[in-house]
Amino acid sequence: MTNLAKAKSYKSDIKPIWCPGCGDFAVLSALTKAFAFLDLAKQDLAVISGIGCSSRLPAYFSSYGFHGIHGRALPIASGLKLARPELTVIASGGDGDGFSIGGNHFIHACRRNLDMTYIVMDNEVYGMTKGQASPTTQPDWASSKLTPHGTGVRPFQPAAIALASGASFIARAFSGDPNGMTKLIIAAIQHPGFSFIQVLSPCPTFRPEQKLWKHQVEAFPHEPTDDPVKAATRLYTDDGMSSGLIFQSNYPTWNKPEVAQTSVKQFEEEFVV
C-alpha cells in the first residue's frame, strides 16, 4: 500500500486561511507527502516559522511546531536542532520574513550548516500586510502605494546568497509543480546539512500577474553540481525562474560542542548584579 495515503494524517484540524489559489497550499501538501513518504514519526518532527501568510504553516501540521516571531524562524529552529539533534527540523516562512528582517539569520544559518531544512515561500511581496515590496520584488513593481514608482532596488538573490554563505544544499521549487517540489523536499530532508529550498509560490491576491509563472518556470537546465564556482556561474546567468536542485555538497555540519553543562540556576547567578 502506498505510504502517501497517510499524508493527510500529518495535517492538524486547523483549516488554512490562505486565499484560494495561494501557492502556499501546494507547499503544505508537498510537505505532508514528503513526511508520509519518509514515514517520519510525528513526535520526531518540528515545523518552525516566523510571521507572514506563509509562516502560518506550523499550525497546519499535527507534528510539533512553533509559529515564532518575524524573521526569527531560523534562530528558533537552530536552537531546537542543537538542543534536540535527533529531530527533523523544518524552518519555513516568506521572502519578507527570511530575507528582509531575517536576512542576517539566513546568512549565518547557511554558514553554520546545521542539519535542517529551510523552505522559503517566495511570492516577491509581503502578503500578510497587504502587498508591499519585499527584497525579492523586481525594482519596477509599482502596485503598492508605498512604492508607487517601484523600489528601484536590485532584488535579493536567495540562491546565490545561500551559496556564498555556505549552504550545502540549494534548490528552487515551484508550487505549480507539486510533484517536483515533493521530490526536492524529500532530498532536502535526507541531506545531512543545511538544505535551502526557495519555492516560487504565487500570491494571486497581491501579485495576480504571478499566475503566469506556470508558463515561465522551467527546469533548471543543468545537472546539480558540488562545485560552488560552477553553481555561482550558473546562478548568475539564470533568470531566477527555473526549478530543480542547483548545488549539493558535503560540507561539514556544525554540531553542538561538548561543553560542561550549566544549570539554569548557575546561569542566572552569573547575571546577578
Binding site: M1, T2, N3, L4, A5, A7, K8, K15, P16, I17, W18, C19, P20, G21, C22, G23, F25, A26, S29, K33, F37, T129, K130, G131, Q132, S143, S144, K145, S175, G176, D177, P178, N179, G180, T182, K183, P202, P204, T205, F206, P208, K211, K214
Partner: protein, 173 residues
C-alpha cells in the same frame, strides 16, 4: 520515471489507480476546507461531494486488490501529462469567486483526463489483465464524464457563471 502504460504487474497498476483517487479526494477536501474558511458553503459542499466520489472509487480499487500486496508507489515516480495525477485539481485553478459551475467544469476536466489516462493504458499495456481492468475503468470514467456534463448543463440553466465583489480583498495599502 515510469511510463504508466509500461506497468506490467497488476499490483503496481492498482496501487497507482488507488493513489490517483486518494490524491484527488484529498485535494477536493483541501479545497472544500478552504471554501468553508472563506464562507462559501455552496462551493464547499460541492467540493466535499466530489471528494466523497473519489474516496468511493479509491475504496472500489481496494476491493479489486483484495488478497494482493500493493507496492509503495509515489506519484512523482510516474510520467504524467499533467503536473500531478490526472484527477487532481491544481490549487491554482481555484479562486475566491469561483462559481459552482466552474467547480464542476474543473471536475469534468479531471474526469476527462482520468478517462484518457485509462484509455491509453487499455490500449498500450503489455499485460492483458491490466488492459482488461483499464478498459473497465475507462468505461466508468466515461459515465462520470456524462454525469458531470448533465450536471453542468442543469446548473448553467439556473445560475450565472460570474460573481462580482464590490469590496475586493486586494486593495494594496
Amino acid at each position: 520515471m515510469i511510463k504508466p502504460e509500461s506497468i506490467e504487474d497488476l499490483e503496481t497498476f492498482l496501487a497507482l489507480a488507488y493513489l490517483l483517487e486518494i490524491e484527488s479526494s484529498d485535494r477536493y477536501t483541501e479545497l472544500a476546507d478552504n471554501m468553508q474558511v472563506h464562507n462559501d458553503p455552496e462551493v464547499e459542499q460541492l467540493f466535499r461531494k466530489l471528494s466523497e466520489y473519489s474516496g468511493k472509487h479509491a475504496s472500489e480499487i481496494i476491493e479489486h486488490a483484495e488478497g494482493m500486496v500493493l507496492p509503495n508507489v509515489a506519484s512523482w515516480d510516474f510520467e504524467w501529462q499533467s503536473p500531478e495525477g490526472p484527477e487532481t485539481t491544481a490549487f491554482e485553478f481555484v479562486e475566491y469567486q469561483i462559481t459552482p459551475v466552474k467547480v464542476l467544469q474543473l471536475a469534468l476536466h479531471n474526469e476527462i483526463r482520468g478517462h484518457d489516462f485509462y484509455a491509453h493504458i487499455a490500449e498500450q499495456s503489455p499485460s492483458e489483465e491490466i488492459r482488461k481492468l483499464a478498459t473497465e475503468f475507462t468505461d466508468e470514467e466515461s459515465e462520470h464524464v456524462e454525469l458531470l456534463k448533465n450536471w453542468i448543463a442543469e446548473m448553467e440553466q439556473n445560475k450565472g457563471n460570474t460573481r462580482d465583489d464590490m469590496d475586493p480583498p486586494n486593495m494594496p495599502e
